[in-house]
Amino acid sequence: MTTSLNVEALRQAFPVLNQFVYNKPLVYLDNAATTQKPYSVIKRVQQYYEHENCNIHRGVHYLSQQATEAFENSRKYIAGLINASHSHEIIFTRGTTESVNLVASSLGKLLMKQGDRVLITGMEHHSNLIPWQQICHENGTQLLVARINDVGETDLDHYKYLLEQGPKIVAITHISNALGTINPVKEMIHLAHTFNIPVLVDGAQSVAHMQVDMQDLDCDFFVFSGHKVYAPMGVGVLYGKESWLEKMPPYQFGGEMVDQVSFEKTTYNSLPFKFEAGTPNVGAVLGLETALRFVEKTGFEAIAAYENELLAYGHQQLGTIEGMRFIGQAAKKAAVISFLVGNIHPYDLGTLLDKMGIAVRTGHHCAQPLMDRFQIPGTVRASFALYNTFEEIDKLTEAVRRAVTMLS
């Protein structure tokens, strides 16, 4: 096994990893839920509150100007990193969920009328499902849902068929949090655009694992959460093409997002502020920049290559356990292994793994319709990050083996 990452050194940068649970060294394999934070991010947030804390965009005084500049520099950096055309195409939100809700509500108002529908895939996280379902209900319709095949890939023929039904918006996940499937989003976006349908990509699971390029993907919207890419909780990003964001009505109303206000009438501020009502989470935004710089410096390609090795090794090792069933075996997969063993309930397996110091997620992973598709109550999910090791996969395998023995 070769890798260009110095994983031992990387691990040292993550304080949470260095601890024991139930007297056993913590094996953290729940990275799809949230990633741990490196010292650099923790320190950046701390430094902000120790030396720079101030409300932004409103003070003429020194601190406020400094904080505003730092905040806007983060926006510029992120725009550059994901190759947006303009930094005002980056809107800061609370996370993926809020970003999706913003677009569903605002773009929904702009484009949808009675009888109009939204197209999603059958593997969406509830956060990229319920907001669209709600908009459909308001317009007296139901979602169009592209089918998933037996290995957990989107059925592209069915997707094309549904595009022909004339949905007004397409919302698809880049990577499935429950299966690890990497959707061919570039192709799916291109197909939707041949029908002039705008596309939102849920990038919650992709930004930590691959470089995303807005010009290359040509998506109309791309959303992600800071906390899944080594950054603090409470901050997320909505990228939107300027042409859409200019036309869309504001989502929330209040301070910061206005130009002129009287009791009769308000005119709204320009982008990106039109979509950023109220005081933002400045410290978390600065932490997000630090986290993304950390990922960029570590190298997207090196990270992806290493995580692929972990994935292959995980499949190979866990595959030696009798009765092992992988849920989701897409040809293109990110570092997520969802599995069941024999008839054992995922809750039982997860409970015993926890006792052995191994943190995995069990349950439906906020994707209940997807679990119904596979006719299972849920899965056990191990999801990897750049600091996980082959030894940890050995420990996972051994622990699963022990748990299975206990439960059989």
Partner: protein
């Protein structure tokens, strides 16, 4: 037997083991104990949905006592169901309402009764107490 006596019995059964694995082996054995509920009652009417595991609960009232039967699709949950039912079934509504379930802490299984665990057990206990409340009202009238 009284609720306290059965609780004491269960605590003793578990206290034979220091190691978490032995404790869980015992719990799993208790979970495998067949069938805690009549198949005809394993319906959606008797289902308590937790989002991780599901629990079915049936109550029958006879001669001043309530008899519970239950089941779960997860065997560890079912083990806990078993030790709750053993204590609470066949007791009077009054005693059920008064019952202190902290014996679960004493045997080191407290985390399973945490509301954040969403395994259906907390809702099951609520449901049991609710049955007791209803039958107590009926008795009082």
């Amino acid at each position: 037997m009284t609720i306290e006596a059965i609780q004491q019995q269960i605590i003793e059964e578990f206290s034979a083991f220091d190691d978490w694995m032995d404790k869980y082996n015992l719990l799993i054995e208790m979970g495998k104990d067949t069938p805690l509920i009549d198949a005809q009652y394993k319906t959606n009417n008797h289902l308590i949905t937790g989002c991780q595991s599901r629990v079915w609960l049936h109550a029958k009232y006879k001669d001043g006592k309530i008899y519970f039967t239950a089941d779960s699709d997860a065997v560890i949950t079912k083990g806990i169901v078993n030790i709750l039912i053993r204590v609470l079934s066949g007791q009077s509504p009054e005693d059920i309402l008064k019952a202190d379930l902290s014996y679960i802490d004493n045997i080191g299984l407290k985390e399973h009764l945490s509301p954040t665990r969403s395994n259906g057990l907390v809702s099951m206990i609520k449901q049991i107490k609710l049955y007791a409340q209803v039958y107590k009202l009926k008795m009082d009238n």
